[in-house]
């Protein structure tokens, strides 16, 4: 059996590096985790990702891979058991389409719902609600986006938790509530109950404190 060396550079509060933790744990891959300080990036990180200088970076037998979705696809292709992406090309395309949607549309809008004010904030909230309805259309009756078990899109959608925690920290009404978004609400609770997934979210209290410190002042001035 070949020597496998797997390292993950991440931060405790990043949804992007937490995604990689989920993927590696789902496949039972042993890895060394390195917590980065983004205000003081390590020479190793800068060496492994000179282009973007960002986490997450996966280093497999000395070779670095960056960008969370790129890393997830690499993990799926390298460790083939417990697949994250479905086998069918069309279903794979759908998972990739919605994952992209989450990072390119949902994430910027989510940030706006927390930092924007007045009309701009209201607009962002309406937008996010619609986006989450769209995601419900993709989830339908399934337990997870991946079916019976977690898949690529469930992992990508982890970022929804960051919005939920931020809203809780700032005393905002939850956009993702059972009344308005019952399907996604149910999914979220199943996700947080999942044995593997629940190890890969930031500790709640610390996460709440983080958001209070980061965004608290913007709420105080409302």
């Amino acid at each position: 059996m070949a020597e496998e060396e797997v390292k993950l550079f991440g931060t405790w509060g990043s949804p992007f590096s937490r995604r990689i933790e989920v993927a590696l744990k789902l496949k039972g891959v042993q890895y060394e985790y390195i917590e980065e300080d983004l205000t003081n990036k390590s020479p190793a990180l800068l060496n492994y990702n000179p282009v973007n200088k960002q986490i997450p970076v996966l280093v497999h037998n000395g070779k670095p891979v960056a960008e969370s979705f790129v890393i997830m696809e690499y993990i799926d292709e390298t460790w083939k058991h417990n697949p994250i992406l479905p086998a069918d090309p069309y279903e794979r395309a759908m998972a990739r389409f919605w994952a992209k949607y989450i990072d390119e549309k949902f994430w910027p809008a989510a940030k706006k719902t927390v930092v924007a004010k007045g009309e701009e904030q209201k607009g962002a909230i309406d937008e996010i609600q619609q986006q989450m309805k769209n995601l419900e259309g993709e989830l339908k009756e399934k337990k997870f986006f991946g079916g019976e078990s977690l898949g690529f899109l469930d992992i990508a959608a982890n970022i929804i938790i960051w919005l939920v925690v931020a809203q809780e920290a700032l005393g905002m009404d939850q956009i993702l509530n059972e009344e308005k978004l019952p399907v996604l609400h149910g999914w979220l609770h199943r996700l947080l109950d999942d044995a593997v997934f629940k190890e890969c979210v930031p500790p709640k209290e610390r996460h709440l404190d983080f958001f209070k410190v980061k965004f608290g002042s913007s709420i105080a001035s409302k």
Partner: protein, 238 residues
């Protein structure tokens, strides 16, 4: 014919597009590279068909591929689908690490070249200056990668096998960048500081399945001049 429901298209390979769209062109290059026949449907930017709106209700944009009645949107998602469905002439490399590198660069190109270029085209003043700066920085990195990977024997990012995923994703620059510069009123291309990239552009333009698809510059400039005027007019009226 751009009408009809998605369900009518059983067994067909249909691509909804705009003649002027670099993202649509990418998908066409992917098909042509593999020798796949497809029905092309020209959409109207000002009057999108029911088929387009029902096939891509989320973004309402082209390109959309409809295969066996199933619609797929987003050019990079479509290209990966094409590569997984029609296995001849692979676009992505076989090895997982090489695939990861190709996907990383495709991502980089989209975020640091394609996006800023589009935003520079449709903005002015300070906002445009900011985007042109981002674009220039992106191009510097691309030149660096071209210097590292390309030489007289390896003309394309696809490596020894010729054209590959990164070439197809970057390919729009070989025709549209000059148009964007002229319409937007700025300069990004510079053969002196981007010699390897310019060599790559020259070679890519000559690729047999690419060459006949390239729209004449005057036609693109005229069209995008009109769109830029419209978009800036809309922004000013907000």
């Amino acid at each position: 014919m751009a009408s009809g429901s998605v369900a009518d298209q059983e067994g067909q390979v249909m691509l909804l597009g705009f003649w002027f769209s670099p993202f649509v062109k990418r998908v066409e290059w992917a098909f042509k590279f593999k020798g796949i026949e497809y029905d092309y449907v020209e959409e109207d930017l000002t009057n999108k068909s029911t088929l387009l709106l029902t096939s891509n209700p989320i973004h309402k944009k082209v390109p959309v591929l409809i295969h066996n009645g199933n619609p797929i949107a987003e050019s990079l998602v479509i290209i990966e689908y094409i590569d997984e469905t029609w296995k001849q002439n692979p676009i992505l490399p076989q090895d997982p690490y090489d695939r990861a590198m190709a996907r990383f660069w495709a991502n980089f190109i989209e975020e640091k070249v394609s996006e800023p270029a589009r935003e520079a085209l449709f903005s002015e003043g300070e906002q445009q200056e900011k985007k042109v700066k981002e674009l220039k920085e992106g191009m510097e990195v691309v030149e660096g990668e071209a210097k590292a990977k390309l030489n007289d024997k390896t003309l394309f990012f696809g490596g020894g096998h010729g054209v590959g995923y990164v070439d197809i994703v970057l390919g729009w620059t070989c025709n549209w960048m000059e148009t964007i510069e002229e319409v937007g009123g700025f300069k990004v291309l510079d053969p002196e500081s981007q010699p390897q990239f310019h060599k790559w552009m020259t070679n890519f333009r000559e690729v047999p399945f690419v060459k006949p698809t390239l729209e004449p510059k005057e036609k693109l400039v005229e069209f995008f001049r009109m769109v830029r005027k419209d978009r800036l007019g809309l922004v000013a009226n907000k």
